[in-house]
Amino acid sequence: MRGLVYTRYELLRAFRNRRFFFFSIGFPLLFYFVIASPNRGVHDFDRSGISLPLYYMVGLTAFGTMVAMISTGTRIASERQIGWTRQLRITPLSTRAYFRAKLLAAYMMSGLTIVLLGLAGSSLGVSLPAGHWLAMVGLILVALLPFAALGIMLGHLINVDSIGPATGGGASLLAFLGGTWFPLGSHGFLFELGRLLPSYWLVQAAHTGLTGHGWPVRGWVVIAVWSVVLSAGALYAFRRDTKRAG
Protein backbone atom coordinates (compact mmCIF):
# COMPACT_ATOMS: atom_id res chain seq x y z
CA MET A 1 0.00 0.00 0.00
CA ARG A 2 1.33 3.39 -1.02
CA GLY A 3 0.75 5.23 2.25
CA LEU A 4 2.95 2.83 4.19
CA VAL A 5 6.33 3.99 2.97
CA TYR A 6 5.24 7.54 3.62
CA THR A 7 4.09 6.67 7.13
CA ARG A 8 7.30 4.80 7.86
CA TYR A 9 9.42 7.85 7.08
CA GLU A 10 7.09 10.07 9.05
CA LEU A 11 7.64 7.83 12.09
CA LEU A 12 11.37 7.79 11.47
CA ARG A 13 11.37 11.57 11.43
CA ALA A 14 9.54 11.79 14.73
CA PHE A 15 11.93 9.25 16.20
CA ARG A 16 15.02 11.12 15.06
CA ASN A 17 13.90 14.46 16.42
CA ARG A 18 15.94 14.26 19.61
CA ARG A 19 14.86 17.48 21.22
CA PHE A 20 11.24 16.64 20.66
CA PHE A 21 11.90 13.23 22.08
CA PHE A 22 13.58 14.63 25.12
CA PHE A 23 10.86 17.09 25.98
CA SER A 24 7.97 14.90 25.05
CA ILE A 25 9.16 11.73 26.77
CA GLY A 26 12.06 12.76 28.97
CA PHE A 27 10.10 15.46 30.73
CA PRO A 28 7.34 13.29 32.23
CA LEU A 29 10.00 10.76 33.20
CA LEU A 30 12.15 13.35 34.90
CA PHE A 31 9.12 14.79 36.60
CA TYR A 32 8.17 11.35 37.78
CA PHE A 33 11.54 10.60 39.33
CA VAL A 34 11.69 14.00 40.99
CA ILE A 35 8.30 13.52 42.65
CA ALA A 36 8.17 9.80 43.25
CA SER A 37 11.76 8.90 44.07
CA PRO A 38 11.97 10.75 47.41
CA ASN A 39 8.47 9.53 48.31
CA ARG A 40 8.80 5.93 47.35
CA GLY A 41 8.01 4.90 50.92
CA VAL A 42 4.57 6.60 50.89
CA HIS A 43 2.28 3.60 50.64
CA ASP A 44 -1.00 5.29 51.36
CA PHE A 45 -0.96 8.51 49.36
CA ASP A 46 -3.56 11.04 50.48
CA ARG A 47 -5.40 8.24 52.31
CA SER A 48 -6.29 6.70 48.95
CA GLY A 49 -4.81 3.35 49.82
CA ILE A 50 -2.51 3.73 46.81
CA SER A 51 1.25 4.22 46.97
CA LEU A 52 2.56 7.56 45.78
CA PRO A 53 4.82 6.11 43.06
CA LEU A 54 1.82 4.27 41.63
CA TYR A 55 -0.49 7.26 41.87
CA TYR A 56 1.95 9.50 40.03
CA MET A 57 2.85 6.85 37.52
CA VAL A 58 -0.69 6.75 36.23
CA GLY A 59 -1.13 10.52 36.56
CA LEU A 60 1.97 11.27 34.57
CA THR A 61 1.06 8.61 32.04
CA ALA A 62 -2.14 10.53 31.40
CA PHE A 63 -0.35 13.86 31.25
CA GLY A 64 2.67 12.65 29.23
CA THR A 65 0.59 10.91 26.58
CA MET A 66 -1.71 13.90 26.29
CA VAL A 67 1.24 16.24 25.74
CA ALA A 68 2.73 13.82 23.21
CA MET A 69 -0.50 13.87 21.20
CA ILE A 70 -1.08 17.61 21.32
CA SER A 71 2.50 18.41 20.41
CA THR A 72 1.87 17.01 16.93
CA GLY A 73 0.61 20.55 16.47
CA THR A 74 4.05 21.98 17.04
CA ARG A 75 5.54 19.87 14.31
CA ILE A 76 2.73 20.64 11.91
CA ALA A 77 3.08 24.37 12.56
CA SER A 78 6.75 24.28 11.72
CA GLU A 79 6.09 22.24 8.59
CA ARG A 80 3.60 24.87 7.51
CA GLN A 81 6.06 27.62 8.32
CA ILE A 82 8.62 26.21 5.88
CA GLY A 83 5.97 25.70 3.21
CA TRP A 84 5.99 21.92 3.39
CA THR A 85 2.25 21.61 3.85
CA ARG A 86 1.72 23.50 0.58
CA GLN A 87 4.24 21.25 -1.10
CA LEU A 88 2.28 18.19 0.09
CA ARG A 89 -0.86 19.62 -1.48
CA ILE A 90 0.65 19.34 -4.90
CA THR A 91 1.16 15.62 -4.44
CA PRO A 92 -1.49 12.89 -4.65
CA LEU A 93 -1.05 12.17 -0.92
CA SER A 94 -4.60 11.86 0.39
CA THR A 95 -5.89 13.69 3.43
CA ARG A 96 -6.52 10.30 4.97
CA ALA A 97 -2.92 9.15 4.46
CA TYR A 98 -1.62 12.46 5.78
CA PHE A 99 -3.75 12.22 8.94
CA ARG A 100 -2.91 8.58 9.42
CA ALA A 101 0.83 9.26 9.37
CA LYS A 102 0.47 12.12 11.85
CA LEU A 103 -1.77 10.02 14.08
CA LEU A 104 0.58 7.04 14.11
CA ALA A 105 3.61 9.21 14.85
CA ALA A 106 1.74 10.73 17.79
CA TYR A 107 0.64 7.31 19.04
CA MET A 108 4.19 6.04 18.75
CA MET A 109 5.34 8.80 21.10
CA SER A 110 2.50 8.09 23.49
CA GLY A 111 3.20 4.37 23.43
CA LEU A 112 6.82 5.01 24.34
CA THR A 113 5.74 7.32 27.14
CA ILE A 114 3.49 4.62 28.56
CA VAL A 115 6.21 1.97 28.38
CA LEU A 116 8.95 4.15 29.85
CA LEU A 117 6.79 5.38 32.71
CA GLY A 118 5.78 1.79 33.39
CA LEU A 119 9.45 0.83 33.60
CA ALA A 120 10.20 3.85 35.77
CA GLY A 121 7.35 2.86 38.07
CA SER A 122 8.55 -0.69 38.42
CA SER A 123 12.05 0.58 39.20
CA LEU A 124 10.43 2.29 42.20
CA GLY A 125 8.66 -0.85 43.26
CA VAL A 126 5.29 -0.28 41.56
CA SER A 127 3.58 -3.36 40.33
CA LEU A 128 0.20 -3.69 38.70
CA PRO A 129 -1.79 -6.79 37.91
CA ALA A 130 -1.25 -7.50 34.20
CA GLY A 131 -5.00 -7.28 33.57
CA HIS A 132 -5.22 -3.83 35.10
CA TRP A 133 -2.25 -2.62 33.14
CA LEU A 134 -3.63 -3.88 29.85
CA ALA A 135 -7.05 -2.40 30.51
CA MET A 136 -5.39 0.90 31.37
CA VAL A 137 -3.27 1.00 28.22
CA GLY A 138 -6.24 0.08 26.07
CA LEU A 139 -8.48 2.77 27.50
CA ILE A 140 -5.71 5.38 27.37
CA LEU A 141 -5.18 4.73 23.69
CA VAL A 142 -8.88 5.30 23.07
CA ALA A 143 -8.96 8.41 25.28
CA LEU A 144 -6.07 9.92 23.32
CA LEU A 145 -8.01 10.17 20.05
CA PRO A 146 -9.52 13.60 20.74
CA PHE A 147 -6.08 14.90 21.69
CA ALA A 148 -4.59 13.63 18.46
CA ALA A 149 -7.24 15.55 16.55
CA LEU A 150 -6.71 18.61 18.75
CA GLY A 151 -2.97 18.56 17.98
CA ILE A 152 -3.56 18.39 14.24
CA MET A 153 -6.19 21.10 14.40
CA LEU A 154 -4.02 23.51 16.40
CA GLY A 155 -1.08 22.83 14.09
CA HIS A 156 -3.09 23.98 11.09
CA LEU A 157 -4.67 26.95 12.83
CA ILE A 158 -1.84 28.50 14.80
CA ASN A 159 1.45 29.85 13.56
CA VAL A 160 4.78 28.57 14.71
CA ASP A 161 5.53 31.56 16.93
CA SER A 162 2.45 31.02 19.09
CA ILE A 163 2.02 27.26 18.87
CA GLY A 164 4.28 26.62 21.90
CA PRO A 165 2.16 28.61 24.35
CA ALA A 166 -1.03 27.36 22.71
CA THR A 167 -0.24 23.65 23.04
CA GLY A 168 1.58 24.01 26.37
CA GLY A 169 -1.14 26.16 27.88
CA GLY A 170 -3.90 24.03 26.40
CA ALA A 171 -2.38 20.83 27.73
CA SER A 172 -1.81 22.30 31.19
CA LEU A 173 -5.33 23.66 31.40
CA LEU A 174 -6.88 20.42 30.23
CA ALA A 175 -4.71 18.44 32.61
CA PHE A 176 -5.67 20.71 35.50
CA LEU A 177 -9.40 20.65 34.77
CA GLY A 178 -9.26 16.93 34.13
CA GLY A 179 -7.97 16.26 37.62
CA THR A 180 -4.51 15.04 36.68
CA TRP A 181 -2.79 16.66 39.63
CA PHE A 182 -5.39 16.34 42.35
CA PRO A 183 -8.68 14.48 42.66
CA LEU A 184 -11.70 16.54 41.58
CA GLY A 185 -13.84 15.00 44.31
CA SER A 186 -17.33 13.87 43.45
CA HIS A 187 -19.44 17.03 43.29
CA GLY A 188 -19.18 20.75 42.67
CA PHE A 189 -18.55 22.92 39.63
CA LEU A 190 -15.04 21.69 38.83
CA PHE A 191 -16.21 18.11 38.99
CA GLU A 192 -19.17 18.74 36.69
CA LEU A 193 -17.00 20.67 34.24
CA GLY A 194 -14.25 18.07 34.38
CA ARG A 195 -16.63 15.24 33.53
CA LEU A 196 -17.37 16.93 30.21
CA LEU A 197 -13.71 17.07 29.21
CA PRO A 198 -11.71 14.37 27.47
CA SER A 199 -8.82 14.94 29.86
CA TYR A 200 -10.96 13.85 32.79
CA TRP A 201 -11.70 10.56 31.07
CA LEU A 202 -8.09 10.19 30.09
CA VAL A 203 -7.17 10.45 33.76
CA GLN A 204 -9.94 7.99 34.59
CA ALA A 205 -8.56 5.67 31.93
CA ALA A 206 -5.16 5.87 33.59
CA HIS A 207 -6.80 5.21 36.97
CA THR A 208 -8.06 1.94 35.54
CA GLY A 209 -4.54 0.83 36.36
CA LEU A 210 -5.32 1.49 40.03
CA THR A 211 -8.81 0.16 40.28
CA GLY A 212 -9.32 -2.16 37.38
CA HIS A 213 -12.63 -0.40 36.68
CA GLY A 214 -13.25 0.83 33.15
CA TRP A 215 -15.35 3.82 32.11
CA PRO A 216 -19.07 4.18 32.63
CA VAL A 217 -21.09 4.87 29.48
CA ARG A 218 -20.66 8.58 30.00
CA GLY A 219 -16.88 8.23 29.53
CA TRP A 220 -17.31 6.56 26.15
CA VAL A 221 -19.82 9.15 25.06
CA VAL A 222 -17.68 12.13 26.07
CA ILE A 223 -14.62 10.71 24.33
CA ALA A 224 -16.61 9.82 21.21
CA VAL A 225 -18.21 13.25 20.97
CA TRP A 226 -14.92 15.08 21.42
CA SER A 227 -13.24 12.78 18.90
CA VAL A 228 -15.84 13.53 16.29
CA VAL A 229 -15.95 17.27 16.96
CA LEU A 230 -12.19 17.73 17.04
CA SER A 231 -11.62 15.51 14.01
CA ALA A 232 -14.07 17.62 12.07
CA GLY A 233 -12.20 20.69 13.33
CA ALA A 234 -8.88 19.21 12.27
CA LEU A 235 -10.23 18.41 8.83
CA TYR A 236 -11.64 21.90 8.46
CA ALA A 237 -8.39 23.51 9.63
CA PHE A 238 -6.37 21.36 7.24
CA ARG A 239 -8.62 22.11 4.28
CA ARG A 240 -8.57 25.87 4.67
CA ASP A 241 -4.86 26.00 5.35
CA THR A 242 -3.63 26.48 1.79
CA LYS A 243 -2.25 29.98 2.01
CA ARG A 244 1.36 30.96 1.92
CA ALA A 245 3.06 30.88 5.31
CA GLY A 246 2.62 34.01 7.35
Binding site: R86, I90, A97
Partner: protein, 336 residues
Protein backbone atom coordinates in the same frame (compact mmCIF):
# COMPACT_ATOMS: atom_id res chain seq x y z
CA UNK B 1 31.11 14.61 -9.07
CA UNK B 2 28.34 13.31 -11.27
CA UNK B 3 26.67 15.98 -13.30
CA UNK B 4 23.08 16.06 -14.43
CA UNK B 5 21.79 15.98 -17.93
CA UNK B 6 22.73 12.45 -18.85
CA UNK B 7 19.40 10.82 -19.32
CA UNK B 8 19.00 8.92 -22.53
CA UNK B 9 16.17 9.94 -24.80
CA UNK B 10 15.11 6.33 -25.30
CA UNK B 11 14.51 5.69 -21.63
CA UNK B 12 12.81 9.04 -21.32
CA UNK B 13 10.36 8.22 -24.08
CA UNK B 14 9.62 4.79 -22.75
CA UNK B 15 8.82 6.22 -19.33
CA UNK B 16 6.81 9.02 -20.74
CA UNK B 17 4.71 6.66 -22.81
CA UNK B 18 4.32 4.33 -19.84
CA UNK B 19 3.09 7.17 -17.67
CA UNK B 20 0.42 8.30 -20.08
CA UNK B 21 -0.91 4.79 -20.48
CA UNK B 22 -0.87 4.12 -16.75
CA UNK B 23 -2.97 7.08 -15.64
CA UNK B 24 -6.02 8.81 -17.04
CA UNK B 25 -6.45 8.81 -20.77
CA UNK B 26 -5.24 12.17 -22.01
CA UNK B 27 -7.52 14.50 -23.83
CA UNK B 28 -5.93 15.01 -27.22
CA UNK B 29 -4.32 18.33 -27.81
CA UNK B 30 -5.28 19.61 -24.38
CA UNK B 31 -2.40 21.42 -22.78
CA UNK B 32 -2.60 24.07 -20.10
CA UNK B 33 -5.45 26.56 -20.30
CA UNK B 34 -5.94 29.59 -18.11
CA UNK B 35 -9.21 31.29 -18.99
CA UNK B 36 -9.88 34.77 -17.69
CA UNK B 37 -8.16 34.10 -14.38
CA UNK B 38 -8.50 36.82 -11.76
CA UNK B 39 -7.49 37.05 -8.13
CA UNK B 40 -7.63 39.94 -5.69
CA UNK B 41 -6.50 40.19 -2.10
CA UNK B 42 -7.68 42.46 0.62
CA UNK B 43 -5.04 44.62 2.18
CA UNK B 44 -5.04 47.57 4.56
CA UNK B 45 -4.45 49.85 1.57
CA UNK B 46 -7.46 48.49 -0.25
CA UNK B 47 -7.84 45.62 -2.67
CA UNK B 48 -4.77 44.31 -4.47
CA UNK B 49 -5.58 43.05 -7.94
CA UNK B 50 -2.85 40.44 -8.07
CA UNK B 51 -4.03 38.82 -11.30
CA UNK B 52 -6.43 40.47 -13.75
CA UNK B 53 -8.27 38.35 -16.25
CA UNK B 54 -5.37 36.61 -17.86
CA UNK B 55 -5.71 34.10 -20.66
CA UNK B 56 -2.86 31.76 -21.40
CA UNK B 57 -2.82 28.67 -23.50
CA UNK B 58 0.19 26.40 -23.41
CA UNK B 59 0.62 23.39 -25.63
CA UNK B 60 1.98 20.08 -24.42
CA UNK B 61 5.77 20.06 -24.61
CA UNK B 62 6.23 23.83 -24.51
CA UNK B 63 8.63 25.51 -22.10
CA UNK B 64 7.20 28.85 -21.07
CA UNK B 65 8.80 31.54 -18.95
CA UNK B 66 6.59 33.78 -16.87
CA UNK B 67 8.65 36.92 -16.73
CA UNK B 68 7.83 39.90 -14.58
CA UNK B 69 9.01 42.19 -11.81
CA UNK B 70 8.20 41.76 -8.10
CA UNK B 71 4.50 41.74 -7.44
CA UNK B 72 3.56 41.13 -11.07
CA UNK B 73 1.31 38.25 -10.09
CA UNK B 74 3.49 35.35 -11.18
CA UNK B 75 3.28 33.34 -7.97
CA UNK B 76 -0.42 34.01 -7.61
CA UNK B 77 -0.94 32.72 -11.15
CA UNK B 78 1.10 29.64 -10.31
CA UNK B 79 -0.88 29.06 -7.11
CA UNK B 80 -4.10 29.06 -9.11
CA UNK B 81 -2.57 26.89 -11.80
CA UNK B 82 -1.69 24.30 -9.15
CA UNK B 83 -5.01 24.55 -7.35
CA UNK B 84 -3.44 26.01 -4.21
CA UNK B 85 -5.70 29.06 -4.37
CA UNK B 86 -9.11 29.27 -5.97
CA UNK B 87 -9.40 32.02 -8.58
CA UNK B 88 -11.99 34.76 -7.98
CA UNK B 89 -13.12 34.14 -11.51
CA UNK B 90 -11.96 32.21 -14.51
CA UNK B 91 -10.83 28.64 -14.83
CA UNK B 92 -7.78 26.41 -15.09
CA UNK B 93 -7.51 23.24 -17.06
CA UNK B 94 -4.43 21.01 -17.02
CA UNK B 95 -4.47 18.43 -19.80
CA UNK B 96 -8.25 18.60 -19.83
CA UNK B 97 -8.56 18.13 -16.06
CA UNK B 98 -8.98 20.30 -13.02
CA UNK B 99 -5.77 21.07 -11.13
CA UNK B 100 -6.83 18.69 -8.33
CA UNK B 101 -7.42 15.82 -10.74
CA UNK B 102 -4.11 16.45 -12.46
CA UNK B 103 -2.28 16.58 -9.13
CA UNK B 104 -3.99 13.41 -7.90
CA UNK B 105 -3.02 11.69 -11.12
CA UNK B 106 0.62 12.55 -10.40
CA UNK B 107 0.84 14.68 -13.55
CA UNK B 108 2.17 17.79 -11.85
CA UNK B 109 5.48 18.54 -10.17
CA UNK B 110 6.30 21.92 -8.73
CA UNK B 111 8.91 23.93 -6.97
CA UNK B 112 7.14 26.75 -5.17
CA UNK B 113 8.80 30.11 -4.64
CA UNK B 114 9.17 29.75 -0.91
CA UNK B 115 9.71 26.53 0.86
CA UNK B 116 12.25 24.47 2.57
CA UNK B 117 12.63 20.78 3.35
CA UNK B 118 11.39 18.77 6.30
CA UNK B 119 14.15 17.71 8.64
CA UNK B 120 15.53 14.49 10.07
CA UNK B 121 15.74 12.63 6.78
CA UNK B 122 18.58 12.19 4.34
CA UNK B 123 18.18 13.46 0.80
CA UNK B 124 17.68 9.92 -0.43
CA UNK B 125 15.14 9.10 2.28
CA UNK B 126 13.15 12.24 1.56
CA UNK B 127 13.03 11.43 -2.14
CA UNK B 128 12.02 7.84 -1.42
CA UNK B 129 9.30 9.04 0.94
CA UNK B 130 7.82 11.43 -1.60
CA UNK B 131 8.25 9.12 -4.59
CA UNK B 132 6.11 6.60 -2.70
CA UNK B 133 2.98 8.73 -2.90
CA UNK B 134 2.94 8.84 -6.72
CA UNK B 135 1.43 6.30 -9.06
CA UNK B 136 4.40 6.00 -11.42
CA UNK B 137 7.49 7.74 -10.06
CA UNK B 138 10.97 7.78 -11.52
CA UNK B 139 13.63 5.73 -9.75
CA UNK B 140 15.22 7.57 -6.84
CA UNK B 141 18.72 6.75 -8.11
CA UNK B 142 17.89 8.11 -11.50
CA UNK B 143 16.61 11.36 -10.02
CA UNK B 144 19.67 11.71 -7.78
CA UNK B 145 21.85 11.34 -10.83
CA UNK B 146 19.78 13.70 -12.96
CA UNK B 147 19.96 16.45 -10.39
CA UNK B 148 23.60 15.93 -9.43
CA UNK B 149 22.71 14.99 -5.88
CA UNK B 150 24.46 11.63 -5.65
CA UNK B 151 27.35 13.03 -3.64
CA UNK B 152 25.06 14.35 -0.94
CA UNK B 153 22.36 11.67 -1.05
CA UNK B 154 23.16 10.54 2.47
CA UNK B 155 23.27 13.98 4.00
CA UNK B 156 20.48 15.12 6.32
CA UNK B 157 18.29 17.77 4.75
CA UNK B 158 18.90 20.28 7.55
CA UNK B 159 22.63 20.27 6.78
CA UNK B 160 22.30 21.34 3.15
CA UNK B 161 23.40 24.69 1.77
CA UNK B 162 20.82 27.00 0.22
CA UNK B 163 21.75 25.98 -3.31
CA UNK B 164 21.74 22.28 -2.44
CA UNK B 165 18.32 22.65 -0.87
CA UNK B 166 17.06 24.16 -4.12
CA UNK B 167 18.41 21.21 -6.05
CA UNK B 168 16.67 18.77 -3.72
CA UNK B 169 13.46 20.73 -4.18
CA UNK B 170 13.91 20.37 -7.91
CA UNK B 171 14.48 16.63 -7.46
CA UNK B 172 11.21 16.44 -5.48
CA UNK B 173 9.43 18.25 -8.30
CA UNK B 174 10.53 15.75 -10.94
CA UNK B 175 10.51 12.51 -8.93
CA UNK B 176 6.90 11.84 -9.92
CA UNK B 177 7.89 12.05 -13.59
CA UNK B 178 5.25 14.77 -14.06
CA UNK B 179 3.90 15.84 -17.44
CA UNK B 180 3.80 19.42 -16.21
CA UNK B 181 6.70 20.90 -14.29
CA UNK B 182 6.16 24.27 -12.60
CA UNK B 183 9.11 26.20 -11.18
CA UNK B 184 8.72 29.50 -9.33
CA UNK B 185 12.04 31.36 -9.40
CA UNK B 186 13.97 28.14 -9.02
CA UNK B 187 17.50 29.50 -9.17
CA UNK B 188 17.27 31.85 -6.21
CA UNK B 189 20.15 31.03 -3.82
CA UNK B 190 22.19 29.32 -6.51
CA UNK B 191 25.64 30.43 -7.62
CA UNK B 192 26.51 30.84 -11.30
CA UNK B 193 27.77 27.30 -11.70
CA UNK B 194 24.73 25.77 -9.97
CA UNK B 195 22.38 27.89 -12.08
CA UNK B 196 24.04 26.58 -15.17
CA UNK B 197 23.75 22.97 -14.04
CA UNK B 198 20.21 23.55 -12.88
CA UNK B 199 18.99 24.82 -16.23
CA UNK B 200 20.79 21.99 -17.92
CA UNK B 201 18.86 19.42 -15.89
CA UNK B 202 15.65 21.35 -16.44
CA UNK B 203 16.18 21.31 -20.21
CA UNK B 204 17.02 17.64 -20.27
CA UNK B 205 13.82 16.95 -18.36
CA UNK B 206 11.84 19.18 -20.72
CA UNK B 207 13.37 17.29 -23.65
CA UNK B 208 11.35 14.24 -22.63
CA UNK B 209 8.30 15.96 -24.06
CA UNK B 210 7.35 17.63 -20.79
CA UNK B 211 5.51 20.90 -20.41
CA UNK B 212 7.42 23.37 -18.26
CA UNK B 213 6.30 26.70 -16.82
CA UNK B 214 8.80 28.73 -14.85
CA UNK B 215 8.69 32.17 -13.25
CA UNK B 216 11.68 34.45 -13.31
CA UNK B 217 12.78 38.08 -13.03
CA UNK B 218 15.56 37.63 -15.52
CA UNK B 219 15.09 38.15 -19.20
CA UNK B 220 18.33 36.28 -19.73
CA UNK B 221 17.06 33.14 -17.98
CA UNK B 222 13.85 33.31 -19.93
CA UNK B 223 15.70 33.84 -23.17
CA UNK B 224 18.07 30.92 -22.67
CA UNK B 225 15.67 28.36 -21.32
CA UNK B 226 12.21 28.97 -22.70
CA UNK B 227 10.52 28.54 -26.07
CA UNK B 228 8.15 31.27 -25.18
CA UNK B 229 7.99 34.20 -22.80
CA UNK B 230 4.84 35.50 -21.16
CA UNK B 231 5.51 38.94 -19.78
CA UNK B 232 3.47 39.93 -16.74
CA UNK B 233 3.15 43.27 -15.00
CA UNK B 234 0.55 44.48 -12.50
CA UNK B 235 -1.44 41.30 -12.85
CA UNK B 236 -1.72 41.51 -16.62
CA UNK B 237 -0.04 39.86 -19.52
CA UNK B 238 1.68 42.66 -21.35
CA UNK B 239 3.41 40.62 -24.01
CA UNK B 240 3.52 37.02 -25.10
CA UNK B 241 5.92 35.73 -27.70
CA UNK B 242 9.24 34.12 -28.50
CA UNK B 243 12.26 35.21 -26.46
CA UNK B 244 13.60 37.09 -29.47
CA UNK B 245 10.41 39.04 -29.88
CA UNK B 246 10.29 39.90 -26.20
CA UNK B 247 13.91 40.96 -26.21
CA UNK B 248 13.15 43.32 -29.05
CA UNK B 249 10.46 44.88 -26.89
CA UNK B 250 12.14 45.20 -23.55
CA UNK B 251 15.74 45.21 -24.67
CA UNK B 252 15.66 48.87 -25.66
CA UNK B 253 18.42 51.02 -24.24
CA UNK B 254 18.64 54.43 -22.70
CA UNK B 255 21.33 57.00 -23.44
CA UNK B 256 22.07 59.53 -20.74
CA UNK B 257 24.35 62.49 -21.45
CA UNK B 258 25.11 65.86 -19.89
CA UNK B 259 23.91 68.33 -22.52
CA UNK B 260 22.75 71.59 -20.93
CA UNK B 261 21.47 73.47 -23.94
CA UNK B 262 20.20 70.89 -26.41
CA UNK B 263 16.60 71.22 -27.48
CA UNK B 264 14.35 68.28 -26.57
CA UNK B 265 12.52 68.39 -29.87
CA UNK B 266 15.76 68.20 -31.73
CA UNK B 267 16.98 65.31 -29.55
CA UNK B 268 13.87 63.27 -30.02
CA UNK B 269 14.19 63.77 -33.76
CA UNK B 270 17.57 62.01 -33.87
CA UNK B 271 17.60 58.73 -35.78
CA UNK B 272 17.13 55.71 -33.46
CA UNK B 273 15.67 57.82 -30.64
CA UNK B 274 12.12 57.06 -29.62
CA UNK B 275 11.69 59.60 -26.90
CA UNK B 276 13.73 62.32 -25.19
CA UNK B 277 13.47 63.68 -21.69
CA UNK B 278 15.47 65.98 -19.47
CA UNK B 279 16.60 65.68 -15.83
CA UNK B 280 18.38 68.92 -14.95
CA UNK B 281 21.41 69.14 -17.16
CA UNK B 282 21.13 65.53 -18.30
CA UNK B 283 19.25 64.45 -21.37
CA UNK B 284 17.66 60.99 -21.35
CA UNK B 285 17.08 59.34 -24.71
CA UNK B 286 15.03 56.15 -24.96
CA UNK B 287 16.27 54.41 -28.04
CA UNK B 288 14.83 51.94 -30.43
CA UNK B 289 18.31 51.59 -31.90
CA UNK B 290 20.98 52.88 -29.53
CA UNK B 291 23.87 52.30 -31.96
CA UNK B 292 22.37 54.58 -34.52
CA UNK B 293 21.31 57.08 -31.90
CA UNK B 294 24.72 57.45 -30.28
CA UNK B 295 26.42 58.08 -33.62
CA UNK B 296 23.85 60.73 -34.51
CA UNK B 297 24.06 62.30 -31.07
CA UNK B 298 27.84 62.70 -31.17
CA UNK B 299 27.74 64.08 -34.66
CA UNK B 300 25.16 66.72 -33.81
CA UNK B 301 26.27 67.46 -30.26
CA UNK B 302 30.00 66.92 -29.98
CA UNK B 303 29.90 68.65 -26.57
CA UNK B 304 27.90 65.82 -24.98
CA UNK B 305 29.69 64.56 -21.88
CA UNK B 306 29.33 61.82 -19.21
CA UNK B 307 27.63 59.51 -21.67
CA UNK B 308 26.07 56.32 -20.32
CA UNK B 309 24.21 53.70 -22.28
CA UNK B 310 22.14 51.30 -20.19
CA UNK B 311 19.78 48.48 -20.96
CA UNK B 312 16.36 49.49 -19.80
CA UNK B 313 15.44 47.78 -16.54
CA UNK B 314 12.65 45.28 -16.77
CA UNK B 315 10.48 47.43 -14.57
CA UNK B 316 10.93 50.39 -16.94
CA UNK B 317 10.17 48.25 -19.91
CA UNK B 318 7.04 46.93 -18.26
CA UNK B 319 5.92 50.39 -17.35
CA UNK B 320 6.44 51.47 -20.91
CA UNK B 321 4.38 48.52 -22.08
CA UNK B 322 1.54 49.07 -19.64
CA UNK B 323 0.40 52.61 -20.20
CA UNK B 324 -1.86 52.76 -17.16
CA UNK B 325 -1.03 49.93 -14.80
CA UNK B 326 -3.92 50.46 -12.42
CA UNK B 327 -6.73 50.95 -14.86
CA UNK B 328 -9.36 48.27 -14.60
CA UNK B 329 -9.97 48.23 -18.32
CA UNK B 330 -9.46 44.84 -19.92
CA UNK B 331 -5.86 44.41 -20.76
CA UNK B 332 -4.61 45.23 -24.19
CA UNK B 333 -1.83 42.73 -24.64
CA UNK B 334 0.82 44.04 -26.94
CA UNK B 335 0.64 42.23 -30.23
CA UNK B 336 4.00 41.00 -31.40
Amino acid sequence: MQRPGTLSAASANRRYAGRVASTYPTVDGAGIRLDGLSKSFRSPEGPVHAVREIDVSIERGETVALLGPNGAGKSTTIDMLLGLQPPDSGGVSLFGRTPRQAVDGGLVGAMLQTGSLIQYLSVRELLTMMASVYPAPLGVDEVLEQTGLEAIARRRTQKLSGGETQRVRFALAIVSNPDLLVLDEPTVAMDVESRHEFWKSMRSFAARGKTVVFATHYLEEADQNADRVVLMAHGRIVADGSPTEIKGRVGSRTIRATLPDADLGELSGLPGVANADRHGEAALLSCADSDQAIRALLERFPAARDIEITGAGLEDAFLALTADPDSDAPDAAVAL
